[in-house]
Subunit: 439 residues, 2 copies
């Protein structure tokens, strides 16, 4: 057996320490799979005194020196965030080291430049752990589906919000109450903004869209709405129409000015990438994805519908994805090659949310007077929005209207809602939520 | 752009013609993804007159001459079966060509020798399409999970039997009736033996077990039971205990003489690979996989539970998997390398079915006389089989006993059933089926 491949580990929190432990426990297997032993050359941390489990000789505070050391072959970056991760990654590439990262924020922010730097250096940049934790997803998109045309990727990619929405559905609780429970149980962080407001899911959506459509998409391109405005009423209304509320990351190929999904001829196509809560039918494969699990639904022209399901977070599951990538880049290093990079040749434009076709569910309290349904229907028609179903429940002098639309540009739908709010016959708009996955 | 890579296509049935069409339709995308154009050098078929859609200049009946031609870089084998596919594949390797195959029977029969031949020639052998059609599954097992320890792979990998069992559950029909319907609708072949008797699933199980456990497993190593003996009573009994009947392909790491699944330290471990119908709880993610869909559930020590879902058969879905592999081997050819091969370093023994731990559901008609439950329970105890639940329904002078056991070696369970059949108090054993996935 030849000389070991040596790994610089950047960061040693939950994921990093799981990576260290699994590398040690599986040393024999990893050697057999790679063809050479893989050992840790050093671990860069901010506070060495906080890592009593790591041999002191491995610990360093100088991450830059570590990644450029001659005796380091591969770099694992699990510190997260933009800086200093970006600079360290670029330094690693410049020094000829391949990088495995779990850094969704950085990849979503600057993926194109990082891929270009890796390609120029002839090294690998793999980051399976950045999206949907342990679920093998990016490699299938990059490689298994490389002979197909993807039309849509729809995922539950944030466990915290999925836990909160699952609890709201199970208990009837409102958002604040379910968030408090999630925080208490450790499913939500003390500052839950990144999860609850959809930033985490938006970064993952940008990465998924980039790979699925061979097009550069950054987090800033993603239309983002969190779940803080989802009410117990929304969840109850969803149940009434056989749906459940999920925070979805949706990446679609859409014909400009046309319908999403099915088309995708490539001519005049654009990509629409968005994160928002939506009602989906309980019969949809994503509907039963509960608690902290993640799942991603993929539609491709030849393959049809695919789904990938598993644990989206946590030290061990994330470390599994990191180590899978580490074995891959180590094999490539042994073979003296770089693996397939990503391509962004399609360069499709990103469609603004206003033009993206969506469907709405709207629930209204209206005065129970003759002609109110006609007035409401007229407002939808005036905005060129076609109605799919209406249910009217009368109760004394008030009535409830529950309307589900067909697909229409999102701007037309939101303009319709604004107009409804101004109608004298409409006492209140009690629930507005997009609907996905209905036939 | 440099010279095209040239592909020899062996076979032009449903899958082959979909491959041809998609290669043509996606020529621009595939060129961008590979870095060089990919074009068809020739198509080997038995009866050229039956392929009017293929340019006559491409058609040949001499597959051997085609795969060894100097102007051929890559070979796609979609003729299926053992011969002449094996000889053609070996000839391709010897001539330095990488091969993409959809041939589960051949890979399950002779995978080790074929991988060795590919490795010796420094070329690729990829066969994502051989198991679970369009679902990216083999690449995740070979690569994404290469840094983890797999403990169990459980799949619905045969669409025909899944369709038949789904219809039996929906309509209450017996096996023969549901098979007749499936044949009429084209879901079952005129000779359904390969599907119904579990040969197809067993070949796929052998491939999955080989990759999951880095151990050579052939179809002959797989314990195989088909669905022909599944009765309407079995399906009804399953529903009564909150279960549904599926034909499962199950690959587990088991401790010798011990329990399956969780353990898997590697010391004293063996692999158990089996295909048989089983009851699974309706809450299990595999339970809702209906009709012709496939799904595979994977458990790994660090990643936890994963599921992969999609279309398991059909021309276009299978062609999607073939083309994904074709892009991969073409990229490798452009880079002048071979991709990671498979490893069989673990070389674990295959456990005989008799030693494999399973659970049984048993339904008995018994005489409703005092002491019959005690007699039956004594028979289980005598074989060292622990009972999980018993339900007794009396009706006049007869009663029904429904028993679910804990895990025990399969031989002990089948010996118990034989003994029960000989007991005077047992009028009939009305249903015996294994149970999987119960807590």
């Amino acid at each position: 057996m030849s000389a070991p491949l040596r790994v610089a580990l950047l960061g040693c929190g939950t994921v990093g320490s799981a990576v260290l432990r699994l590398l040690d426990e599986q040393a024999g297997d990893i050697t057999a799979r790679v063809g050479r032993p893989v050992e840790v050359a050093g671990v860069a941390v901010r506070r060495p005194d906080r890592h009593p489990g790591v041999p002191a000789g491995l610990l360093t505070t100088d991450a830059h020196a570590l990644v450029t050391r001659d005796d380091v072959d591969l770099v694992v970056e699990v510190i997260g965030g933009i800086d200093p991760a970006r600079e360290l990654m670029l330094a690693a590439f410049a020094a000829g080291k391949s990088v495995v990262s779990a850094n969704k924020a950085l990849l979503a922010d600057d993926g194109v430049a990082l891929h270009a730097a890796a390609a120029e250096a002839g090294v690998d940049l793999y980051y399976e752990a950045a999206v949907a934790g342990a679920i093998p997803l990016l490699r299938p998109l990059r490689e298994s589906l490389a002979g197909d045309q993807l039309t849509r990727v729809v995922g539950i990619v944030n466990g915290t919000t999925n836990y909160i929405l699952s609890r709201m559905a199970e208990t009837g609780a409102g958002f604040a109450e379910a968030l408090a429970e999630a925080t208490e149980l450790g499913y939500a962080e003390a500052d839950p903004t990144a999860d609850v407001d959809g930033f985490d899911a938006a970064a993952k959506a940008a990465i998924l869209a980039s790979l699925a459509f061979h097009t550069p998409v950054t987090a800033a391109d993603v239309h983002r709405e969190g779940i803080a405005a989802v009410s117990a009423t929304d969840v109850a209304r969803a149940a009434e129409i056989g749906c459940t509320v999920k925070l979805l990351a949706i990446c679609e190929k859409v014909e400009r000015g046309g319908r999403g999904g099915e088309g995708g001829e490539g001519h005049g196509a654009s990509v629409a990438v968005r994160v928002h809560p939506a009602m989906i039918p309980t019969s949809h494969p994503l509907a039963s994805v509960g608690g902290a699990f993640n799942a991603v639904f993929v539609e491709a022209e030849a393959a049809g519908q695919l789904m990938f399901y598993g644990q989206g977070a946590g030290g061990e599951p994330t470390a599994s994805a990191v180590l899978g990538d580490l074995v891959a880049v180590a094999r490539n290093r042994v073979a003296g090659v770089a693996g397939p990079g990503t391509t962004a040749y399609a360069g499709l434009p990103v469609a603004p949310m206003a033009d993206t076709p969506t469907r709405y569910h709207v629930s209204l309290d209206v005065a129970d007077v003759p002609g109110v349904l006609a007035q409401v229907a007229q407002e939808f028609a005036a905005h060129d929005v076609s109605i799919s179903t209406v249910r009217q429940d009368g109760s004394g002098e008030a009535a409830t209207l529950v309307i589900v639309t067909h697909r229409a540009p999102d701007a037309a739908l939101s303009a319709t809602i604004s107009a409804l709010r101004g109608m004298p016959a409409v006492r209140a708009v009690t629930s507005v939520l997009r609907v996905e996955g209905l036939q």
